[in-house]
C-alpha cells in the first residue's frame, strides 16, 4: 500500500514536470533541427543539424545580429548592475540603519511612486532622451535601467533590518563613523542580499522587453538588445525564415541567464525568508 502511494506521488510529479518542460524541450529540439520556420508537423524535428547556431553566430544579415545584440546587452547589463546595486544598497542602508527626520515621509513617497505604471514615465523619458540624442544607444539604456533603481531598495532594507543593532552600536562606541559601520560591518554581513541585488540588477537588461522596445526604434539591428532582436525574428513576415535561429538564440541566451537565476533564487531565499523570521 505504501509503495503504491509512493508510486502515485512520484508519477504525478513526473507528469507535471514533463508538462512544465515540454516547451523548453521543444525549444532545444527545434534549435538543433534543420527547419527554418516553425515545425508544425511533428514534435521533434526530422533531423539533427547545427545550421541555426552557425548562421546565428557567423552568418549575419540585416535582421540577425546576435553577436552585437549579445555584446550590447552585456555592456548595458554590466554598467546597470554596478550603478543599481550601489544605489540600492546605499538607499537600503540609509532607510534601515539610520534615523533622520524625513525618513518615514521618504519611504511613503517612494512606495507611492512605485504604484504608477513605470511605463507611463517611460514615454516622457523617451522624449527627453531623444532630445539629447541618447535613444538607440547603450548609454541611454544604462541610464533608463539604473536611473530610478534606488526605488527597489525594499528587499535589501528588509535584510539590513535583521542585522543585529548591537553590532552597530558596539562599533559606534568604539568611535567608528557611520561610513565605517556601513562598509566594514553591515556590508560584509550581507552577502546573500548583495549577491541577490547584483544578479537581479544584472538580469534586468536581459529580461526587459518593454523599455528597450521604446528606446530602440532606429530599425538598425546592430543597436538592439537580445530581447528586442529576438522578438523581431518572430515577426509575422520573418518567422518562416528565422524561427530556427530564434530558438538557437533563445537557447544561447537562456543558458547563462538560467545559471544566474538559479544562484539568485538560492540567495533570495536565504536572505529574505531567513530575515523574515529573525526580524
Amino acid at each position: 500500500m505504501k509503495i503504491f502511494k509512493q508510486i502515485v506521488r512520484h508519477s504525478v510529479l513526473a507528469f507535471l514536470s514533463v508538462f512544465w518542460l515540454i516547451p523548453i524541450i521543444w525549444l532545444v529540439a527545434t534549435s538543433f533541427g534543420p527547419d527554418t520556420g516553425p515545425n508544425i508537423r511533428t514534435f521533434f524535428p526530422s533531423g539533427m543539424s547545427l545550421v541555426h547556431y552557425q548562421t546565428l553566430l557567423f552568418g549575419m544579415d540585416d535582421v540577425a545580429r546576435f553577436p552585437s545584440w549579445f555584446r550590447n546587452t552585456f555592456i548595458i547589463a554590466t554598467f546597470t548592475c554596478i550603478i543599481s546595486s550601489t544605489f540600492v544598497l546605499m538607499v537600503a542602508y540609509a532607510m534601515s540603519c539610520m534615523r533622520f527626520k524625513s525618513r518615514k515621509t521618504l519611504i511613503t513617497f517612494a512606495s507611492t511612486l512605485t504604484l504608477f505604471p513605470g511605463f507611463l514615465a517611460m514615454i516622457a523619458v523617451y522624449f527627453i532622451m531623444k532630445s539629447v540624442g541618447l535613444t538607440n544607444s547603450n548609454i541611454g539604456l544604462i541610464m533608463v535601467y539604473s536611473g530610478s533603481s534606488g526605488l527597489g531598495y525594499l528587499i535589501a532594507k528588509g535584510f539590513f533590518d535583521t542585522v543585529p543593532k548591537s553590532m552597530r552600536e558596539a562599533a559606534y562606541i568604539e568611535g567608528a563613523s557611520e561610513f565605517k559601520v556601513f562598509t566594514k560591518i553591515v556590508i560584509p554581513l550581507s552577502k546573500p542580499i548583495i549577491v541577490y541585488t547584483v544578479i537581479s540588477a544584472f538580469l534586468v537588461p536581459w529580461m526587459d522587453f518593454i523599455f528597450a522596445n521604446i528606446m530602440l526604434n532606429s530599425g538598425l539591428s546592430e543597436n538592439k538588445t537580445v530581447a528586442i532582436g529576438l522578438y523581431a525574428m518572430v515577426d509575422k513576415v520573418r518567422i518562416n525564415s528565422y524561427f530556427g535561429q530564434f530558438c538557437a538564440g533563445g537557447v544561447l541566451v537562456s543558458i547563462p541567464i538560467s545559471i544566474l537565476f538559479v544562484i539568485m533564487q538560492k540567495f533570495y531565499i536565504e536572505g529574505v525568508t531567513g530575515g523574515s523570521v529573525k526580524g
Binding site: 516553425p38 525618513r103 511613503t108 505604471p117 533603481s149
Partner: protein, 490 residues
C-alpha cells in the same frame, strides 16, 4: 522580476494634519530667523553665502554663492522662456519661411509644445526648490550665529565634510539615488500627468504641430459612449477583464504554488531538489523567449493544433459544442474566450514555479517544534495545515500577495508577448478606441502610445491605473494590519 515593492501606509488625515503643521512652523521660523538674525543673517536673504562668510566658513560660503550664481544666470536663459509660454504651451506653429537674405526657405522659430511643457514644469520645480533652500539656508546661518554668540564650536569645512560621513551620512547615501529618481521618475511622471490635461495626440504631434491645455476633456472622453467615441464601452470591458485577470492570476498561482511546494516538501517525496529544478527551468528561461515560443506552440497552424487534429481532439471539441463548426483548428490565441483561458493557463505555467520557490523557503522556516507539538496533541495532517502552516504562509506572504495583485494589474509581458500581432479584435466598438478583448489597462495604454500616438488618453489611463493600485493597496494593508492584530489577541 523586481516588482515586490510594498508601500507603507499611514492615515491620510494624520499625514495632512502634520503636513499643515510643518508648513506653518516652516514660515514662523523663517520670520523669527529674520527678526533675531544679525546683519550677516539678513544679508543672506540676498546673497545666500553671506552668513557663511561672516562666520569665516569661506569654502561653504563660496560653494553656496557659486550655486546661487549658477541658478540665477541659468534660470532666465533656459527655463524662463518656457515658463512664460507654459499657459498656452506655445503659439507659433512650425512653418517654412522664405528668407530674403539667403534666398532660401528656412524653418521659423517655432514653439515646441513638449519642450515647453517639460521645461515649464522644471522651472516651477526649481522655483519651489530655491524657495525652500532660501528659507532653510537662512535658518542654517542663524544657527551659526547662535553657536558663535554662545561661544560654541563653529564647524570648519573639514568638519562639515566629516559629518557627511557620520551623522549626516544619509544625505551622502541618498543624494545620487534621489537625483536619479527625480530625473527618471518624478519629472517624467509629472510631464505625463500633465499630458492627460492636454490634447496631445496624433493630430497634434510635435514638432510639426502644437498641443495645448484642454482641462478635463480627456477624462470626459473616457466616460463617453457615442456614435464616434466608444471609450466608455472599451474602458468598462478592459477594466473588468483587468480586475478579473489580476484576481484569478494572483490566486490561482498562489493556491497551486502552495500545493506544489507542499507536495514536493512532503516527507515521502524523494529527490526533492531534482523536482524543484525541473520546475525552475521553465522560469529561468527569459520570458520573451518562453512566451514567444509558447505563442508559436499554440498558433492556429502550430504544432499543438496539428497534434490535436491527429488525436481527434479538435473534432471532439466540435461535437461537444465547445468549438464552433467553422473552425478547422482550435483558436487558442485568436478567439477572445479561448485566448483569455489560455493566457490564464500559461500564466499558471510561469507563476506556479515562482510561488513554489517562495513558499518552499517559508515552509523550511516554520518552527519544527510547532508542527511536532501539534502532532503530539493529536492533530492530523489537514488540521495542522489549516491551523499552523496556512496562517504562517499567509502571514509571511501577505504583503507579497498584495504586491503581486498590483503587479498583475500591470502584467505587460504575458499578455503582450502572447497576443501582439496574433490576436485581432472583431468587436468594432473596441477597435474604434484601439482596445482589444484581451487587453489589460497597461497593454491598452502601451498600444495607444506606440501604435496610435494617442498620448492624451494613454496618460488618462495611466492616472487611473495609479488610482486603482493605490486604493487597492491602502485598503488591503488596512485589512492586513487589522488581521494581524486579531492574530495577536488569540
Amino acid at each position: 522580476m523586481g516588482g515586490k515593492r510594498l508601500p507603507a501606509t499611514g492615515g491620510a488625515g494624520k499625514a495632512l494634519h502634520s503636513l499643515g503643521r510643518a508648513f506653518i512652523s516652516f514660515f514662523t521660523q523663517f520670520y523669527q530667523d529674520i527678526k533675531e538674525g544679525d546683519v550677516w543673517v539678513r544679508l543672506s536673504l540676498l546673497f545666500f553665502g553671506a552668513g557663511y562668510f561672516g562666520r569665516k566658513q569661506i569654502a561653504k560660503g563660496a560653494l553656496v554663492t557659486v550655486l546661487q550664481a549658477f541658478v540665477f544666470i541659468f534660470y532666465p536663459l533656459a527655463l524662463l522662456p518656457s515658463l512664460r509660454k507654459f499657459g498656452t504651451l506655445g503659439t507659433v506653429k512650425r512653418a517654412a519661411v522664405f528668407n530674403s537674405v539667403t534666398m532660401k526657405n528656412e524653418v521659423n522659430n517655432f514653439d515646441h509644445s513638449f519642450i515647453i511643457l517639460l521645461f515649464g514644469l522644471i522651472a516651477i520645480l526649481v522655483i519651489a526648490v530655491v524657495v525652500i533652500f532660501w528659507v532653510r539656508n537662512l535658518h542654517a546661518v542663524r544657527r551659526l550665529q547662535v553657536l558663535q554668540e554662545s561661544g560654541k564650536h563653529v564647524n570648519r569645512f573639514t568638519d562639515d565634510i566629516r559629518e557627511l560621513f557620520n551623522q549626516k551620512f544619509h544625505i551622502t547615501l541618498l543624494a545620487l539615488p534621489s537625483l536619479g529618481v527625480i530625473l527618471f521618475t518624478i519629472i517624467p511622471l509629472l510631464v505625463m500627468i500633465s499630458v492627460a490635461f492636454t490634447d496631445y495626440d496624433k493630430t497634434h504631434m510635435v514638432p510639426t504641430n502644437l498641443f495645448t491645455w484642454v482641462g478635463i476633456d480627456n477624462f470626459k472622453t473616457l466616460f463617453t459612449h457615442s456614435q464616434t467615441i466608444t471609450f466608455a464601452y472599451s474602458f468598462g470591458k478592459v477594466l473588468s477583464w483587468t480586475l478579473l485577470w489580476a484576481l484569478l492570476a494572483t490566486f490561482s498561482t498562489f493556491i497551486f504554488g502552495i500545493l506544489l511546494a507542499m507536495f514536493i516538501n512532503n516527507r515521502n517525496t524523494r529527490l526533492k531538489r531534482l523536482w524543484r529544478t525541473f520546475f525552475m527551468i521553465s522560469i529561468a528561461v527569459p520570458q520573451f523567449v518562453s512566451l514567444l515560443l509558447v505563442r508559436n506552440f499554440f498558433a492556429n497552424t502550430g504544432i499543438v493544433n496539428t497534434l490535436c487534429t491527429n488525436i481527434g481532439l479538435t473534432d471532439f471539441l466540435k461535437q461537444i459544442g465547445l468549438l464552433s463548426q467553422n473552425y478547422a483548428y482550435i483558436p487558442f490565441l485568436t478567439d477572445p474566450n479561448w485566448a483569455k483561458a489560455m493566457i490564464l493557463l500559461i500564466n499558471l505555467w510561469i507563476g506556479i514555479p515562482y510561488l513554489m520557490l517562495i513558499v518552499t523557503g517559508i515552509l523550511m522556516n516554520i518552527p519544527a517544534e510547532l508542527l511536532e507539538s501539534a502532532r503530539i496533541d493529536g492533530a492530523n495532517a489537514f488540521q495542522s495545515f489549516r491551523k499552523i502552516t496556512m496562517p504562517y504562509i499567509l502571514f509571511v506572504t501577505g504583503p507579497f500577495l498584495i504586491g503581486s495583485f498590483t503587479s498583475n494589474i500591470n502584467n505587460f509581458n504575458v499578455i503582450y508577448l502572447l497576443t501582439n500581432d496574433v490576436f485581432v479584435t472583431k468587436d468594432q466598438l473596441l477597435a474604434n478606441s484601439n482596445a482589444q478583448e484581451i487587453d489589460l489597462l497597461i497593454t491598452w495604454l502601451y498600444r495607444l502610445t506606440q501604435n496610435f500616438y494617442n498620448f492624451k488618453m494613454a496618460s488618462v489611463l495611466g492616472i487611473l491605473i495609479f488610482i486603482i493600485c493605490a486604493v487597492f493597496t491602502v485598503f488591503a494593508f488596512r485589512k492586513l494590519i487589522k488581521g494581524d492584530r486579531e492574530e495577536r489577541f488569540q
